[in-house]
Assembly symmetry: C2
Homo-oligomer: 263 residues x 2
Protein backbone atom coordinates (compact mmCIF):
# COMPACT_ATOMS: atom_id res chain seq x y z
CA UNK A 1 0.00 0.00 0.00
CA UNK A 2 1.33 3.40 -0.94
CA UNK A 3 1.62 5.99 1.81
CA UNK A 4 -0.31 9.12 1.01
CA UNK A 5 1.93 12.17 0.99
CA UNK A 6 0.96 15.04 3.32
CA UNK A 7 -1.19 17.74 1.71
CA UNK A 8 -0.01 21.33 2.08
CA UNK A 9 -2.32 24.25 1.32
CA UNK A 10 -0.72 27.54 0.22
CA UNK A 11 -2.19 31.02 -0.20
CA UNK A 12 -1.16 34.66 0.16
CA UNK A 13 -2.51 38.20 -0.05
CA UNK A 14 -0.24 39.66 -2.72
CA UNK A 15 -1.88 37.65 -5.51
CA UNK A 16 -0.97 34.60 -7.56
CA UNK A 17 1.90 36.21 -9.47
CA UNK A 18 3.74 37.47 -6.37
CA UNK A 19 7.38 36.32 -6.19
CA UNK A 20 7.00 35.64 -2.46
CA UNK A 21 4.31 33.06 -3.24
CA UNK A 22 6.56 31.26 -5.71
CA UNK A 23 9.37 31.11 -3.11
CA UNK A 24 6.94 29.71 -0.53
CA UNK A 25 5.75 27.02 -2.95
CA UNK A 26 9.38 26.04 -3.60
CA UNK A 27 10.03 25.93 0.14
CA UNK A 28 7.20 23.53 0.98
CA UNK A 29 7.19 21.20 -2.07
CA UNK A 30 9.62 18.71 -0.50
CA UNK A 31 7.16 18.11 2.36
CA UNK A 32 4.13 16.92 0.43
CA UNK A 33 1.58 17.50 -2.30
CA UNK A 34 0.87 21.18 -2.68
CA UNK A 35 -2.47 22.88 -3.41
CA UNK A 36 -2.18 26.62 -4.08
CA UNK A 37 -5.29 28.82 -4.10
CA UNK A 38 -4.22 32.44 -4.40
CA UNK A 39 -6.11 35.67 -5.05
CA UNK A 40 -6.29 37.02 -8.59
CA UNK A 41 -5.32 40.51 -7.45
CA UNK A 42 -3.34 41.98 -4.59
CA UNK A 43 -5.39 41.89 -1.38
CA UNK A 44 -3.19 43.79 1.04
CA UNK A 45 -5.02 45.02 4.14
CA UNK A 46 -7.98 42.68 3.61
CA UNK A 47 -7.65 41.14 7.07
CA UNK A 48 -10.20 38.38 7.68
CA UNK A 49 -12.66 39.73 5.08
CA UNK A 50 -14.92 37.24 3.26
CA UNK A 51 -16.91 37.82 0.10
CA UNK A 52 -20.65 37.62 0.72
CA UNK A 53 -22.27 40.14 -1.62
CA UNK A 54 -20.97 38.77 -4.92
CA UNK A 55 -20.21 35.20 -5.92
CA UNK A 56 -16.65 33.90 -6.02
CA UNK A 57 -14.96 32.08 -8.86
CA UNK A 58 -11.94 29.83 -8.96
CA UNK A 59 -9.93 28.73 -12.02
CA UNK A 60 -7.17 26.20 -12.47
CA UNK A 61 -3.94 27.97 -13.41
CA UNK A 62 -1.21 25.30 -13.33
CA UNK A 63 -0.92 21.58 -12.70
CA UNK A 64 2.13 19.37 -12.50
CA UNK A 65 3.07 16.31 -10.43
CA UNK A 66 2.70 17.23 -6.74
CA UNK A 67 1.31 20.70 -7.44
CA UNK A 68 -2.14 22.08 -8.26
CA UNK A 69 -2.47 25.84 -8.54
CA UNK A 70 -5.78 27.76 -8.61
CA UNK A 71 -6.61 31.45 -8.83
CA UNK A 72 -9.64 32.92 -7.03
CA UNK A 73 -11.31 36.32 -7.46
CA UNK A 74 -11.97 36.68 -3.71
CA UNK A 75 -10.08 37.57 -0.57
CA UNK A 76 -7.26 35.52 1.01
CA UNK A 77 -9.72 33.94 3.46
CA UNK A 78 -12.10 33.10 0.58
CA UNK A 79 -9.19 31.16 -0.97
CA UNK A 80 -8.84 29.00 2.14
CA UNK A 81 -12.59 28.41 2.43
CA UNK A 82 -12.91 27.47 -1.24
CA UNK A 83 -9.93 25.12 -1.01
CA UNK A 84 -11.33 23.46 2.07
CA UNK A 85 -14.88 23.13 0.75
CA UNK A 86 -14.48 22.52 -2.97
CA UNK A 87 -10.93 21.58 -3.93
CA UNK A 88 -9.33 19.40 -1.26
CA UNK A 89 -9.85 15.64 -1.23
CA UNK A 90 -8.13 15.22 2.15
CA UNK A 91 -7.33 17.31 5.19
CA UNK A 92 -4.11 19.32 4.80
CA UNK A 93 -1.30 18.73 7.29
CA UNK A 94 -0.30 22.37 6.96
CA UNK A 95 -1.51 25.74 5.69
CA UNK A 96 1.14 28.32 4.79
CA UNK A 97 0.68 31.90 3.68
CA UNK A 98 2.98 34.45 2.04
CA UNK A 99 5.80 35.15 1.74
CA UNK A 100 4.32 38.63 2.14
CA UNK A 101 5.93 41.70 0.65
CA UNK A 102 6.49 43.75 3.83
CA UNK A 103 6.11 43.33 7.60
CA UNK A 104 3.11 41.85 9.38
CA UNK A 105 4.27 42.60 12.91
CA UNK A 106 2.78 44.44 15.90
CA UNK A 107 -0.34 46.47 15.04
CA UNK A 108 -0.26 45.33 11.41
CA UNK A 109 -1.37 41.82 12.36
CA UNK A 110 -4.98 42.98 12.66
CA UNK A 111 -5.08 44.28 9.07
CA UNK A 112 -3.07 41.49 7.49
CA UNK A 113 -4.59 39.14 4.93
CA UNK A 114 -1.45 36.99 5.18
CA UNK A 115 -1.98 36.35 8.89
CA UNK A 116 -5.73 35.89 8.34
CA UNK A 117 -5.01 32.95 6.00
CA UNK A 118 -3.08 31.16 8.74
CA UNK A 119 -5.73 32.09 11.33
CA UNK A 120 -8.46 30.68 9.08
CA UNK A 121 -6.69 27.33 9.40
CA UNK A 122 -7.74 27.33 13.07
CA UNK A 123 -11.37 27.08 11.93
CA UNK A 124 -10.57 23.73 10.30
CA UNK A 125 -7.93 22.55 12.78
CA UNK A 126 -5.13 22.88 10.22
CA UNK A 127 -1.80 24.19 11.58
CA UNK A 128 -1.16 27.53 9.87
CA UNK A 129 1.95 29.66 9.41
CA UNK A 130 2.09 33.18 7.94
CA UNK A 131 5.42 34.34 6.49
CA UNK A 132 6.43 37.92 5.70
CA UNK A 133 9.68 39.51 4.55
CA UNK A 134 10.40 43.12 5.56
CA UNK A 135 11.03 44.22 2.02
CA UNK A 136 8.61 46.27 -0.10
CA UNK A 137 10.86 46.43 -3.15
CA UNK A 138 8.92 44.99 -6.14
CA UNK A 139 12.17 43.29 -7.20
CA UNK A 140 12.83 41.74 -3.78
CA UNK A 141 14.38 38.27 -3.98
CA UNK A 142 12.54 35.86 -1.67
CA UNK A 143 14.37 32.69 -2.70
CA UNK A 144 17.33 33.11 -0.30
CA UNK A 145 14.89 32.81 2.64
CA UNK A 146 13.64 29.33 1.72
CA UNK A 147 15.80 27.83 4.53
CA UNK A 148 14.03 30.03 7.10
CA UNK A 149 10.64 28.81 5.89
CA UNK A 150 11.80 25.18 5.93
CA UNK A 151 13.18 25.42 9.48
CA UNK A 152 9.82 26.56 10.83
CA UNK A 153 7.70 24.30 8.60
CA UNK A 154 9.67 21.24 9.76
CA UNK A 155 9.21 22.12 13.42
CA UNK A 156 5.46 22.67 13.03
CA UNK A 157 5.05 19.40 11.11
CA UNK A 158 6.89 17.59 13.92
CA UNK A 159 5.46 19.38 16.97
CA UNK A 160 2.02 20.57 15.87
CA UNK A 161 0.29 23.72 17.09
CA UNK A 162 -2.22 24.18 19.89
CA UNK A 163 -5.86 24.18 18.74
CA UNK A 164 -7.02 27.72 18.03
CA UNK A 165 -3.52 29.11 17.40
CA UNK A 166 -1.30 29.68 14.37
CA UNK A 167 2.15 31.22 13.84
CA UNK A 168 3.12 34.63 12.51
CA UNK A 169 6.68 34.69 11.15
CA UNK A 170 8.49 37.84 10.01
CA UNK A 171 11.91 37.83 8.33
CA UNK A 172 14.21 40.85 8.62
CA UNK A 173 15.41 42.49 5.43
CA UNK A 174 19.05 41.46 5.68
CA UNK A 175 21.02 38.85 3.70
CA UNK A 176 20.40 35.32 5.02
CA UNK A 177 23.93 35.03 6.39
CA UNK A 178 23.38 38.13 8.56
CA UNK A 179 20.25 36.76 10.26
CA UNK A 180 21.22 36.28 13.91
CA UNK A 181 18.67 33.57 14.69
CA UNK A 182 14.99 32.93 15.38
CA UNK A 183 13.20 34.47 18.35
CA UNK A 184 9.80 33.48 19.74
CA UNK A 185 8.13 36.74 20.80
CA UNK A 186 4.93 38.61 21.46
CA UNK A 187 3.58 41.30 19.15
CA UNK A 188 4.79 44.74 20.22
CA UNK A 189 2.27 47.35 21.35
CA UNK A 190 2.12 50.00 18.68
CA UNK A 191 -0.12 51.71 16.18
CA UNK A 192 -0.18 53.42 12.83
CA UNK A 193 0.03 57.20 12.78
CA UNK A 194 -2.06 57.73 9.72
CA UNK A 195 -2.61 60.60 7.43
CA UNK A 196 -4.79 60.91 4.41
CA UNK A 197 -3.16 62.36 1.34
CA UNK A 198 -5.91 64.67 0.01
CA UNK A 199 -6.21 65.15 -3.74
CA UNK A 200 -8.77 66.65 -6.10
CA UNK A 201 -9.99 64.80 -9.18
CA UNK A 202 -10.63 66.37 -12.63
CA UNK A 203 -14.29 66.82 -11.59
CA UNK A 204 -13.19 68.94 -8.64
CA UNK A 205 -14.18 66.27 -6.09
CA UNK A 206 -11.77 65.45 -3.29
CA UNK A 207 -10.45 61.97 -2.60
CA UNK A 208 -7.99 60.49 -0.10
CA UNK A 209 -5.14 57.99 -0.10
CA UNK A 210 -4.34 56.27 3.16
CA UNK A 211 -0.73 56.75 4.21
CA UNK A 212 0.92 56.24 7.54
CA UNK A 213 3.90 55.47 9.68
CA UNK A 214 4.15 52.79 12.32
CA UNK A 215 4.81 53.91 15.88
CA UNK A 216 6.28 51.42 18.38
CA UNK A 217 5.07 52.17 21.92
CA UNK A 218 7.73 50.01 23.55
CA UNK A 219 10.96 50.12 21.51
CA UNK A 220 13.03 48.94 24.50
CA UNK A 221 11.05 45.72 25.16
CA UNK A 222 13.32 42.85 24.09
CA UNK A 223 10.54 40.22 24.07
CA UNK A 224 8.68 41.79 21.12
CA UNK A 225 8.64 41.06 17.40
CA UNK A 226 9.67 44.63 16.62
CA UNK A 227 12.79 44.30 18.77
CA UNK A 228 13.69 40.97 17.18
CA UNK A 229 13.29 42.33 13.67
CA UNK A 230 15.26 45.51 14.26
CA UNK A 231 18.04 43.35 15.70
CA UNK A 232 18.14 41.07 12.62
CA UNK A 233 16.32 38.10 14.16
CA UNK A 234 13.44 36.21 12.55
CA UNK A 235 10.35 36.73 14.76
CA UNK A 236 7.91 33.89 15.47
CA UNK A 237 4.71 34.85 17.31
CA UNK A 238 1.78 32.60 18.27
CA UNK A 239 -1.58 34.10 17.21
CA UNK A 240 -4.93 33.14 18.72
CA UNK A 241 -8.34 33.39 17.06
CA UNK A 242 -10.30 33.69 20.32
CA UNK A 243 -10.35 37.47 20.77
CA UNK A 244 -11.82 37.34 24.30
CA UNK A 245 -9.77 39.42 26.74
CA UNK A 246 -9.98 36.99 29.65
CA UNK A 247 -8.21 39.37 32.03
CA UNK A 248 -11.12 41.81 31.80
CA UNK A 249 -14.01 39.41 32.52
CA UNK A 250 -13.93 39.87 36.29
CA UNK A 251 -13.67 43.65 36.19
CA UNK A 252 -16.63 43.86 33.80
CA UNK A 253 -18.66 41.52 36.01
CA UNK A 254 -18.02 43.85 38.96
CA UNK A 255 -19.97 46.56 37.07
CA UNK A 256 -23.14 44.57 37.84
CA UNK A 257 -24.75 45.57 34.55
CA UNK A 258 -28.51 45.33 34.79
CA UNK A 259 -31.34 46.44 32.57
CA UNK A 260 -33.64 48.99 34.18
CA UNK A 261 -36.78 48.56 32.14
CA UNK A 262 -40.40 48.42 33.16
CA UNK A 263 -41.68 44.94 32.43
CA UNK B 1 -17.23 79.19 30.23
CA UNK B 2 -19.25 76.60 28.40
CA UNK B 3 -18.43 72.92 29.04
CA UNK B 4 -17.66 71.08 25.83
CA UNK B 5 -20.04 68.17 25.32
CA UNK B 6 -18.46 64.72 24.88
CA UNK B 7 -17.92 63.68 21.26
CA UNK B 8 -19.31 60.30 20.23
CA UNK B 9 -18.23 58.63 16.99
CA UNK B 10 -20.67 56.20 15.35
CA UNK B 11 -20.23 53.75 12.48
CA UNK B 12 -21.50 50.36 11.33
CA UNK B 13 -21.03 47.73 8.65
CA UNK B 14 -24.57 47.55 7.24
CA UNK B 15 -24.30 50.95 5.56
CA UNK B 16 -25.62 54.44 6.24
CA UNK B 17 -29.29 53.63 5.59
CA UNK B 18 -29.45 50.66 7.98
CA UNK B 19 -32.22 50.93 10.58
CA UNK B 20 -29.87 49.60 13.27
CA UNK B 21 -27.59 52.59 12.71
CA UNK B 22 -30.46 55.03 13.15
CA UNK B 23 -31.47 53.34 16.42
CA UNK B 24 -27.87 53.52 17.65
CA UNK B 25 -27.67 57.24 16.82
CA UNK B 26 -30.91 57.82 18.77
CA UNK B 27 -29.50 55.84 21.68
CA UNK B 28 -26.29 57.85 22.05
CA UNK B 29 -27.48 61.40 21.21
CA UNK B 30 -28.32 62.25 24.85
CA UNK B 31 -24.67 61.67 25.83
CA UNK B 32 -22.93 64.15 23.57
CA UNK B 33 -22.29 65.52 20.11
CA UNK B 34 -22.48 62.77 17.55
CA UNK B 35 -20.33 62.27 14.44
CA UNK B 36 -21.52 59.47 12.16
CA UNK B 37 -19.27 58.13 9.39
CA UNK B 38 -20.93 55.11 7.83
CA UNK B 39 -20.20 53.05 4.71
CA UNK B 40 -22.08 53.81 1.53
CA UNK B 41 -22.88 50.14 0.97
CA UNK B 42 -23.30 47.09 3.16
CA UNK B 43 -19.91 45.81 4.30
CA UNK B 44 -20.81 42.59 6.09
CA UNK B 45 -17.88 40.23 6.58
CA UNK B 46 -15.30 42.95 5.94
CA UNK B 47 -13.53 42.35 9.25
CA UNK B 48 -10.62 44.75 9.81
CA UNK B 49 -10.12 45.39 6.07
CA UNK B 50 -8.74 48.78 4.99
CA UNK B 51 -8.79 50.28 1.51
CA UNK B 52 -5.29 50.74 0.11
CA UNK B 53 -5.55 50.11 -3.63
CA UNK B 54 -8.13 52.78 -4.47
CA UNK B 55 -8.68 56.17 -2.88
CA UNK B 56 -11.54 56.74 -0.43
CA UNK B 57 -14.14 59.48 -0.54
CA UNK B 58 -16.36 60.92 2.15
CA UNK B 59 -19.44 63.12 1.70
CA UNK B 60 -21.60 65.03 4.15
CA UNK B 61 -25.09 63.54 4.23
CA UNK B 62 -26.91 65.27 7.12
CA UNK B 63 -26.21 67.99 9.63
CA UNK B 64 -28.32 69.24 12.52
CA UNK B 65 -27.54 70.53 16.02
CA UNK B 66 -25.48 67.89 17.84
CA UNK B 67 -25.23 65.60 14.82
CA UNK B 68 -22.98 65.45 11.76
CA UNK B 69 -23.46 62.50 9.41
CA UNK B 70 -21.03 61.48 6.66
CA UNK B 71 -21.04 58.64 4.12
CA UNK B 72 -17.80 56.97 3.01
CA UNK B 73 -17.15 54.62 0.08
CA UNK B 74 -14.73 52.45 2.08
CA UNK B 75 -14.84 49.76 4.71
CA UNK B 76 -16.06 50.18 8.30
CA UNK B 77 -12.48 50.60 9.53
CA UNK B 78 -11.82 53.20 6.80
CA UNK B 79 -14.76 55.18 8.26
CA UNK B 80 -13.09 55.28 11.69
CA UNK B 81 -9.69 56.22 10.26
CA UNK B 82 -11.16 59.00 8.10
CA UNK B 83 -13.18 60.36 11.03
CA UNK B 84 -10.13 60.34 13.27
CA UNK B 85 -7.79 61.88 10.71
CA UNK B 86 -9.93 64.29 8.71
CA UNK B 87 -13.26 65.02 10.40
CA UNK B 88 -12.88 65.16 14.19
CA UNK B 89 -11.82 68.37 15.93
CA UNK B 90 -11.46 66.65 19.32
CA UNK B 91 -10.89 63.18 20.68
CA UNK B 92 -14.13 61.19 21.02
CA UNK B 93 -15.11 59.92 24.46
CA UNK B 94 -16.71 56.90 22.84
CA UNK B 95 -16.91 54.96 19.58
CA UNK B 96 -20.02 52.84 18.98
CA UNK B 97 -20.78 50.50 16.11
CA UNK B 98 -23.99 48.86 14.87
CA UNK B 99 -26.61 47.99 15.73
CA UNK B 100 -25.72 45.11 13.41
CA UNK B 101 -28.37 43.06 11.64
CA UNK B 102 -27.51 39.59 12.99
CA UNK B 103 -25.20 38.03 15.56
CA UNK B 104 -21.49 38.80 16.00
CA UNK B 105 -20.78 36.14 18.58
CA UNK B 106 -18.29 33.25 18.88
CA UNK B 107 -16.43 32.51 15.62
CA UNK B 108 -18.19 35.37 13.80
CA UNK B 109 -16.19 37.98 15.72
CA UNK B 110 -13.18 37.44 13.46
CA UNK B 111 -15.17 38.27 10.29
CA UNK B 112 -17.22 41.10 11.72
CA UNK B 113 -16.90 44.65 10.43
CA UNK B 114 -19.04 45.80 13.36
CA UNK B 115 -16.58 44.46 15.93
CA UNK B 116 -13.63 45.76 13.86
CA UNK B 117 -14.97 49.33 14.20
CA UNK B 118 -14.90 49.07 17.99
CA UNK B 119 -11.48 47.35 17.89
CA UNK B 120 -10.12 50.16 15.70
CA UNK B 121 -10.90 52.49 18.61
CA UNK B 122 -8.11 50.73 20.52
CA UNK B 123 -5.62 52.12 18.01
CA UNK B 124 -6.58 55.65 19.07
CA UNK B 125 -7.31 54.91 22.75
CA UNK B 126 -11.05 55.53 22.28
CA UNK B 127 -13.37 53.18 24.22
CA UNK B 128 -15.32 51.21 21.66
CA UNK B 129 -18.54 49.16 21.82
CA UNK B 130 -19.98 46.96 19.05
CA UNK B 131 -23.73 46.23 19.18
CA UNK B 132 -25.56 43.47 17.29
CA UNK B 133 -29.16 42.23 17.34
CA UNK B 134 -29.82 38.57 16.51
CA UNK B 135 -32.36 39.43 13.85
CA UNK B 136 -31.76 39.22 10.11
CA UNK B 137 -35.26 40.33 9.13
CA UNK B 138 -34.90 43.41 6.89
CA UNK B 139 -37.92 44.87 8.71
CA UNK B 140 -36.46 44.25 12.19
CA UNK B 141 -37.30 47.01 14.68
CA UNK B 142 -34.15 48.09 16.55
CA UNK B 143 -35.71 50.99 18.46
CA UNK B 144 -37.03 48.90 21.38
CA UNK B 145 -33.42 48.00 22.28
CA UNK B 146 -32.28 51.59 22.84
CA UNK B 147 -32.40 51.02 26.65
CA UNK B 148 -29.94 48.11 26.30
CA UNK B 149 -27.51 50.31 24.38
CA UNK B 150 -27.87 53.12 26.91
CA UNK B 151 -27.24 50.85 29.91
CA UNK B 152 -23.92 49.72 28.47
CA UNK B 153 -22.90 53.12 27.07
CA UNK B 154 -23.47 54.75 30.47
CA UNK B 155 -21.34 52.17 32.25
CA UNK B 156 -18.48 52.51 29.76
CA UNK B 157 -18.60 56.33 29.97
CA UNK B 158 -18.39 56.06 33.77
CA UNK B 159 -15.91 53.19 34.15
CA UNK B 160 -13.79 53.33 31.00
CA UNK B 161 -12.21 50.34 29.30
CA UNK B 162 -8.73 48.90 29.66
CA UNK B 163 -6.27 50.09 27.01
CA UNK B 164 -6.24 47.70 24.06
CA UNK B 165 -9.72 46.29 24.70
CA UNK B 166 -13.25 47.04 23.50
CA UNK B 167 -16.68 45.49 24.11
CA UNK B 168 -18.72 43.19 21.90
CA UNK B 169 -22.43 43.27 22.79
CA UNK B 170 -25.05 40.94 21.30
CA UNK B 171 -28.79 41.28 21.95
CA UNK B 172 -31.07 38.23 21.72
CA UNK B 173 -34.00 38.37 19.32
CA UNK B 174 -36.77 38.51 21.92
CA UNK B 175 -39.01 41.40 22.97
CA UNK B 176 -37.23 43.75 25.38
CA UNK B 177 -39.46 42.70 28.31
CA UNK B 178 -38.37 39.07 27.85
CA UNK B 179 -34.64 39.82 28.11
CA UNK B 180 -33.49 38.16 31.32
CA UNK B 181 -30.51 40.41 31.98
CA UNK B 182 -26.95 41.18 30.86
CA UNK B 183 -24.15 38.62 31.14
CA UNK B 184 -20.41 39.26 30.85
CA UNK B 185 -19.02 36.25 28.99
CA UNK B 186 -16.28 34.88 26.81
CA UNK B 187 -16.76 34.04 23.14
CA UNK B 188 -17.80 30.42 22.66
CA UNK B 189 -15.51 28.05 20.77
CA UNK B 190 -17.19 27.27 17.49
CA UNK B 191 -16.87 27.51 13.74
CA UNK B 192 -18.82 27.86 10.55
CA UNK B 193 -19.64 24.70 8.63
CA UNK B 194 -19.54 26.20 5.21
CA UNK B 195 -20.73 25.10 1.88
CA UNK B 196 -20.48 26.76 -1.45
CA UNK B 197 -23.68 26.93 -3.45
CA UNK B 198 -22.44 26.13 -6.98
CA UNK B 199 -24.20 27.75 -9.94
CA UNK B 200 -23.50 28.14 -13.63
CA UNK B 201 -23.77 31.51 -15.37
CA UNK B 202 -25.27 32.10 -18.87
CA UNK B 203 -21.74 31.76 -20.32
CA UNK B 204 -21.48 28.28 -18.85
CA UNK B 205 -18.90 29.32 -16.25
CA UNK B 206 -19.34 28.15 -12.66
CA UNK B 207 -19.55 30.48 -9.68
CA UNK B 208 -20.08 30.01 -5.95
CA UNK B 209 -22.06 31.65 -3.17
CA UNK B 210 -20.76 31.25 0.37
CA UNK B 211 -23.34 29.73 2.70
CA UNK B 212 -22.93 28.13 6.08
CA UNK B 213 -24.22 27.15 9.45
CA UNK B 214 -22.65 27.96 12.77
CA UNK B 215 -21.55 25.03 14.94
CA UNK B 216 -21.08 25.58 18.69
CA UNK B 217 -18.34 23.28 20.07
CA UNK B 218 -19.40 23.78 23.67
CA UNK B 219 -23.18 24.26 23.91
CA UNK B 220 -23.21 23.34 27.62
CA UNK B 221 -20.68 25.99 28.73
CA UNK B 222 -22.65 28.60 30.68
CA UNK B 223 -19.90 31.24 30.62
CA UNK B 224 -20.12 31.78 26.84
CA UNK B 225 -21.87 34.36 24.67
CA UNK B 226 -23.73 31.61 22.81
CA UNK B 227 -25.20 30.25 26.05
CA UNK B 228 -26.22 33.72 27.20
CA UNK B 229 -27.92 34.50 23.89
CA UNK B 230 -29.79 31.21 23.64
CA UNK B 231 -31.04 31.82 27.17
CA UNK B 232 -32.34 35.32 26.35
CA UNK B 233 -29.54 37.27 28.01
CA UNK B 234 -27.63 40.17 26.44
CA UNK B 235 -23.98 39.07 26.06
CA UNK B 236 -21.10 41.47 26.77
CA UNK B 237 -17.61 40.21 25.86
CA UNK B 238 -14.29 42.06 26.18
CA UNK B 239 -12.25 41.91 22.95
CA UNK B 240 -8.50 42.46 22.75
CA UNK B 241 -6.53 43.67 19.74
CA UNK B 242 -3.26 42.03 20.76
CA UNK B 243 -3.60 38.64 19.07
CA UNK B 244 -0.52 37.12 20.76
CA UNK B 245 -1.31 33.77 22.36
CA UNK B 246 0.77 34.32 25.51
CA UNK B 247 0.11 30.79 26.78
CA UNK B 248 2.06 29.34 23.83
CA UNK B 249 5.24 31.44 24.10
CA UNK B 250 7.05 29.07 26.46
CA UNK B 251 6.16 25.92 24.54
CA UNK B 252 7.40 27.48 21.27
CA UNK B 253 10.63 28.60 22.97
CA UNK B 254 11.22 25.00 24.04
CA UNK B 255 11.46 24.05 20.36
CA UNK B 256 14.85 25.82 20.28
CA UNK B 257 14.34 26.97 16.70
CA UNK B 258 17.65 27.65 15.03
CA UNK B 259 18.75 28.35 11.49
CA UNK B 260 21.11 25.77 10.07
CA UNK B 261 22.77 27.69 7.31
CA UNK B 262 26.35 27.88 6.22
CA UNK B 263 27.59 31.39 6.90
Amino acid sequence: MEMERPMILVSNDDGYRAPGLLALIEAVRPYGDVLVVAPQDGQSGQSHAITVKVPVRVDKYRQEPGLEFYVCNGTPVDCVKLAQNRLLDRKPSLLVSGINHGANSSASVLYSGTVAVAAEGCMYDIPGIAFSLLNHDPHADFMPYVPVVRTIVQSVLEQGLKKGTCLNVNIPNVPLRDIRGIRVCRHARGYWVEEYDRRVDPNNKEYFWLTGEYFNEEPEAEDTDEWALSNDFVSVSPVQVDLTCYGELDRLRSWNLSLNISR
